[in-house]
Symmetry: D2
Subunit: 163 residues, 4 copies
């Protein structure tokens, strides 16, 4: 069974720098023979899927709604749901490790749920957003289970943390 | 985007005849270049996934629990959840059409949820179980949206019904 | 802790006869000092809640959407969700027993999910719809765990079946 | 329809100081004629429910599992689910406003999900834990929608923010 890595982060408009980070992370996930899982939409999710597909990987998107509209065009498997933001729980429960890139409150909910599920979280610190900030929280479980990483180290770090 | 067909049916021990039907349905799904979605466990799900993999297809299993134990060995993508039987809603919400083979109350919940989601359901009448019985219910939505089919016609019927 | 009984059945327009059955069931639930749980909307749900409130009971509605619109006006506790039809799983998982009145595919999904969760189901046979039909299915788990009942016996039967 | 306020925070052992804060918040919710919604378990949830019941309020607990074990003894309505930590989404989706007391990663997931759902969050800053920390995150949506409050002001602030 292949390992599955979730990429979480900002939907919609993202800075070019963040887009490149996400594409590279997606590419590395595919090159490492892992499956990319995400929330299926735009921004970081789309860029990561684009990178993964360029490297011949497999991508899975878990959408909040029953409709496929809003899905990015780099998805192999499209999981439509009717769960709204509760689909965030599914994105991280389905992963062996979670890589956070940029992001805001949606990403924060996924980081926190991943920790509840006992999944390792790699926060890409140089991507900005919540991913650069979450370790400001001095909560013990966050300090122990969210690993801060530079972008090029995110996937290798995830692979090490998958038990 | 490839079409996604869910195969639902009995977990655990199944008669040899049912196993063959499920394998064939899985094989036809793969040959039709569709992705097979299922509940990820044994019985009908495992047999369908085995058929799909023999024909080079892609298989997705949505498990009720966070643990991968209980997953069949023919899954490419393993979606662990923590939703228990409520994962049944996800199996059918993720599909463009649903094929029911044999089955009992779990399968019945998936048939009913699929109808609620507006997904076409193909009940394989010669597989027995709930799939042979569900059209005994004279409910109008069941009569209109559950199509009874012989095993060899199940996948062609599903493909016709996917809009 | 008070016992909780779910009333499931047709949303929207219902025949006067069904409305009376639902009101009486709701009233009996309240008189038996049980909490009424339902999907929070109209039709059977609304009538049952009306009956329960007339008898001084407590009513809980679990809605499919985040918005309170669509909630009937006889609810004490309104659980808004973002789960769509998957909220059907919540309606029955929250109950000690489930009473089905009339109904169609939504009700069928709730009956089947209740059986998966190991909850006793009382189908009010003289209310018509799926509730009058479900025992046509010869599935062993349905025959053993769905009890057919005349309307006046529904609540006493539920109380007996709650362990 | 009564307003519903969720109290979220640490399960299990909590400092005496936090217990008193939670009890007082629960008491104020009841005195303000609001329904208290929570995750149904111990620690902050139990203390808040105790306070609410002492003031004659109504309490609702949404449990992660199908079993009632683990429910605190101050609950009027017990919603058993099979959703695991995804029940956190339900706790906040059911509330008109959310008050966070102390807490760790479970509470953080609920704060973030509440913000996704557009619910106002009041973080009791003098309770410690995540509630004292969350506004360290400079995310705009957190800064705008999480209000920091001293314990005695938490319920009045929530009432003001409920539209």
């Amino acid at each position: 069974m292949k390992r599955q890595i979730a990429v979480i982060g900002t939907d919609g408009e993202i800075p070019e720098r963040v887009r490149r980070i996400a594409e590279n992370v997606g590419r590395e996930i595919a090159k490492s023979d892992c499956i990319l899982v995400c929330g299926g939409r735009g921004g970081v999710m789309e860029a990561a899927c684009k990178g993964a597909k360029e490297a011949g990987g497999l991508t899975v998107g878990i959408l909040p709604a029953l409709e496929k509209s809003g899905a990015n065009k780099f998805l192999d498997v499209v999981m439509t749901t009717s769960f709204g933001y509760a689909r965030n729980a599914l994105v991280v429960s389905a992963a062996d490790a979670v890589i956070a890139i940029h992001g805001s409150i949606g990403t924060l909910s996924e980081i926190a749920l991943a920790l509840n599920y006992g999944k390792p979280v790699i926060a890409v610190e140089d991507s900005g957003g919540i991913s650069a900030e979450v370790r400001k929280l001095e909560d013990e479980k966050i300090r122990e289970n969210v690993v801060s990483s530079k972008a090029p180290e995110a996937v290798p770090t995830a692979l090490e943390l998958i038990t």
